[in-house]
């Protein structure tokens, strides 16, 4: 059905960006209000999708193939809810983080631009608008990442910008091929017309390759760790938790809704799965060897993105039905859990870094021990990253492992198992520093405004997604097998 509220999650942050630029003196309060409004509108759209099913809206007064189309189905609504909540937490944290700093004036406009393009990617209904939103996202993300202004941050984010452009262009080439072949860019129409021709196959390869570069899929992840590790904490959180997810979302969308099964075949799925496996092992290994906390978190993102790609071979081998629905829902759950957990992790890591003045893991003991709530957030988020129960990723891994058994692809179990153990090793390498002989902190929470957002995000990844994941199934329209 048509719903006019669909444009709000994109329009409100844009309005916010304009307002904070126009009235820089009122920045924190305006920023907070705009963040609340954006987040509220995103959750509103999610609720509407929950209640009424798929939503659509055409802007610009033209009919569907020509106008700017927005659409929300269960998948976009779930990710929109994720970007709304994680975005809100990050905004609240950023108020305190940038307070009294000059960077504040740069942060808020860029952040709202980023948020608008994030929501735009989740809601766009045609491939060209998606491209526009992706470009906007890449630009604002690279600019935000360079906010610290250090030489490393600039170099890393310049590389990030170029890689992002390369990825978008590759994607655009694929889009152009499809347009010449089928004369439309609307995902729904295209999905109905597309045939397993060499042209479509080339488009698939180009689009997925471009997006995989943007999603930092191994071995195209090289740009991610320096860019994410050198950004200010709230920016790292948004980049790792949300931005890389957009590219993954698009790949999943193309895979499920656009390309015919003859193209999304076992070989293609195996390639994606293998790259995912490489990401899990290599990312986790580098996280274990990382000397700095934020670098560890960044490599952990590389690994977690890898898990998401392990779903493709399982999805491909599972016939349509409850088992396949479970896998899709688990994949979304995994992406969402990582988003909440990684945002919480980066925000908490930022506090530890501020307290200690550095983020070298070996010397963090004192700072970690003096902030119990923050360390607790790292522990909660960490257990979600490892995939320990109760957390959304535990459920996702359970379903994934079940899928591996049921489709006879036992080798992915080895990857999941090894990734889990490596993750436990790198998370507890950090946590073990928090048990030292430092003086006892008097209170659990030392600085509520800074510590609570991280704690809530981490808690959400564990308790909310770990014990009440059912709504994701409902949102995606799946019945699920009844126990």
């Amino acid at each position: 059905m048509t719903s006019t509220s669909l444009f709000l999650p994109v329009a409100l942050p844009l309005l916010g960006a304009l307002l904070v630029t126009a009235l820089p003196r009122k920045m924190p309060i305006l920023g907070a209000l705009a963040a609340l409004a954006t987040s509220g509108s995103g959750l509103w759209v999610t609720t509407q999708t929950w209640l009424h099913g798929d939503l659509g809206l055409v802007l610009g007064g033209w009919g569907l193939p020509l106008g700017i189309g927005l659409a929300a189905d269960g998948l976009s609504a779930a990710l929109l809810a994720m970007s709304s909540l994680v975005g809100l937490g990050t905004s609240v944290y950023a108020i305190g983080y940038f307070a009294g700093s000059e960077r504040c004036t740069h942060f808020w406009p860029l952040w709202f631009l980023l948020w608008a393009s994030l929501n735009g990617v989740f809601l766009a209904a045609d491939l060209f608008n998606l491209y526009v939103m992706l470009e906007l996202l890449g630009l604002s993300a690279a600019a935000l990442g360079a906010l610290t202004g250090t030489r490393e941050a600039l170099a890393a984010n310049l590389r990030y910008l170029l890689v992002g452009l390369l990825g978008s262009i590759t994607y655009l080439l694929g889009v152009a091929l499809l347009y010449t072949g089928y004369g439309t860019l609307d995902i729904g129409l295209l999905g109905a017309r597309i045939q397993p021709t060499p042209l479509a196959a080339t488009a698939l390869v180009l689009m997925v390759a471009g997006l995989a570069l943007k999603a930092a899929l191994f071995p195209m992840h090289f740009w991610l760790p320096p860019a994410h590790a050198n950004a200010p904490a709230p920016v790292s959180a948004a980049l790792s938790a949300l931005v890389v997810k957009t590219a993954f979302y698009l790949i999943l969308r193309l895979w499920l809704d656009l390309f015919p099964p003859a193209l999304t075949n076992a070989a293609a799925a195996f390639v994606l799965g293998t790259l995912g496996a490489g990401a899990v092992l290599w990312g986790s290994w580098r996280a274990l060897r990382a000397e700095r906390l934020k670098l560890l978190a960044a490599y952990s993102t590389v690994a977690q993105i890898g898990y998401l790609f392990l779903f493709f071979p399982l999805l491909q081998a599972t016939p349509a039905g409850a088992a396949r629905d479970d896998l899709i829902a688990a994949c979304v759950l995994m992406a969402m859990t990582h988003s909440f957990a990684k945002a919480g992790f980066f925000l908490a890591a930022g506090l530890v870094q501020q307290k200690a003045g550095h983020d070298r893991i070996d010397e963090l003991g004192g700072a970690a021990q003096s902030m119990p709530a923050t360390t607790f957030s790292i522990a909660l988020a960490g257990s979600a990253l490892i995939g320990l129960p109760p957390s959304g990723s535990f459920i996702a891994k359970w379903v994934m492992m079940r899928g591996a058994f049921e489709t006879g692809q036992w080798w992915w179990l080895i990857i999941i198992g090894a990734g889990t153990l490596l993750a436990a090793a790198y998370i507890f390498r950090v946590l073990s520093r928090a048990f030292g002989l430092e003086p006892t902190p008097q209170c659990f929470v030392t600085d509520a405004r800074a510590e609570i957002p991280a704690l809530l995000l981490a808690l959400a990844s564990v308790v909310l997604l770990g014990l009440a994941a059912g709504p994701i199934w409902s949102l995606l329209g799946f019945e699920g097998v009844q126990a």
């Binding site: 129960p389 436990a424 659990f444 994941a469």
Partner: protein, 503 residues
Amino acid sequence: MSQPLTWTSVLPGAILLSSLIPGALIFLVKEESHILRGVLNMTGAIIKLVLVAVLIWGVFLGGIFETRLTIAPGLALVLHADALSVLFVTLSTVLWLVTTIYAIGYLEHSPNRSRFFGFFSLCVSATVGIALAGNLLTFVIFYEILTLATYPLVAHRGTPDATRGAKIYLAYTMGGGLALLVGAVWLRSLTGPVDFIQGGVLAGLPEALHPQLIAIFVLLLIGLGVKAALVPLHGWLPQSMVAPAPVSALLHAVAVVKAGAFGIVRVVYDVYGVEFAAHLGLLTLLGVAASITIIYGSIMALTQDGLKKRLAYSTVSQVSYIALGASILGPVATIGGLVHLVHQGIMKITLFFCAGNYAETLGVHKVSEMDGVGRRMPWTTLAFTVGALGMIGIPPIAGFVSKWYLGLGAVEAGEHWVLLVLAASTLLNAGYFMPILYKAWFRPPPDAWPEEHVFESRFETMGALLWPPVITAALCLIAGLLAAAPFSPLEWATLIARREYGL
């Protein structure tokens, strides 16, 4: 959650929350508010005790208590109270109360108490979750939570030794947890959701799946064997002795090793079914592993001079009695194994409390320093003596009852070699406990103790440290003397065995 909310569908959940909520609140308590923290601790422990008493009565009458929470379609968190879970819940609830009192006394003036008691309560909540788990998924979830909640307790002291011990503990339990998870998912993919049902659920599966079922059993056994300290998966246990005494007591008697042993019992009886497990030859595997562990643990205990290390190896050995009981086909052996779950708990916790008292009061950490402690600390040493004699199996203390039923069950099942294991173990037990008792009571005390603390108390040590071991020692005697009384551990184990074998 389609079921109506009745008290029978809330009670198991309430028992879990009665320690989880105080635990979460304790994290928020300011470090210096020890009264508030104590009140939270004790309120939780007492509410839990009352709820468990109601549960015991209800289950005895044959009531069905089940709390069900759907996590996602096809994945349900089920807390279901049957006779076996009640046995473990009661053990952990009673011992939690006693250990909390002990820990409050033991950790007085020490740092990071809010953190300690917070995780302490989480740990007990996880144990109760394991006890009440109604399906394999729930069991796995709480089993992993237990690992997470105990890590901070082992690392609590913050010394390099503690960090190292905690790391080793984590490495073992994470590896074990993964094996358990893989086994559980594998089984789930063969059969659908695996509920724990008395008599087992797998016997009806086609013969072609039997090799897979054997492989799954081995995976589950590895996962559970790590916590139950089956040789060669026991390496973490002596290392984690660096933890404070109440934690050691908790690890050894209530939570961690018991969770492993309990899990083995669950898998054998309520997943595979004991007859089916015997048919697949799995009981022999379990029996051999348990026997090796019993003998090896006892031999290692002989060679330890550190008191807590000696007790640790004794735990390695004694916990495997439970697995041994599960590995013999026949109700009498089952009773012996199950009752030992409780008996080993109360005896071992007594011993660890006493070891803690010696360390705190006199600075005595080694067996070689224990000359004459009986004269300086008669009540503690009396409690220690009861625990030690019980471990050896001297009547009328609880440990005798366990060994008697294990032996009887073995004879009944025609497994005479078990008697040899029991006899050897008893001799070895006497070998490592008797010298301690002799030194404590009959050797003259030294001129000065290694590090004596004088408490302002009319007793030999602080009241909060003295009463817990005295109480648990009394429980050891009562459980042995009144073994035939209604609601004694033995009677309850008999009830479980009757239900498992459908007698």
